[in-house]
Amino acid sequence: AQRVTQPEKLLSVFKGAPVELKCNYSYSGSPELFWYVQYSRQRLQLLLRHISRESIKGFTADLNKGETSFHLKKPFAQEEDSAMYYCALSRNSGYALNFGKGTSLLVTP
């Protein structure tokens, strides 16, 4: 069975501080992992996916198969990063996403 766990419901950091949003998953095969973000009053949108190894808006995420984790990191948080972040898993390209419950990130000045 697929499961995505985001242990933190809310994460509050100061502007300029490092931020790490945790994501752990369980899946027997080789899944594809994603981070989606939803800014206030906007649609859910893709932030990054592990296969592309990109850095988007200063965020990075490394897939650790040994720890079955895909934590999202940014060295210096900005106020505009305040949003709801969802970690998601897909068993293969084109298949539906299995989302975690989300972490609300609040960056305060």
Partner: protein, 116 residues
Amino acid sequence: EAGVAQSPRYKIIEKRQSVAFWCNPISGHATLYWYQQILGQGPKLLIQFQNNGVVDDSQLPKDRFSAERLKGVDSTLKIQPAKLEDSAVYLCASSLGTMSTSYEQYFGPGTRLTVT
């Protein structure tokens, strides 16, 4: 390009009534998904279409929910009869297809359903 369109944006009904949601995916997108997002949870897949065929409806409560995608473009999701626990945001998403570079899912604004 225009994004995924959904209507209505908000709907309030009484339990045991029926309701229908409409989704228009991005032009040319072969795959369409309906997700249900209950407050405090992440989106959960209800049904996935590839063109007008169903790929996955394993989590669709088929005794009350139905969905169709005639002609492989627009889609309608129906609930009949609604229960209190159906109160949620219903999200539609679409993607180009199943090729590894084209499967990014684009989400609509969602329909917020309140069942009283």
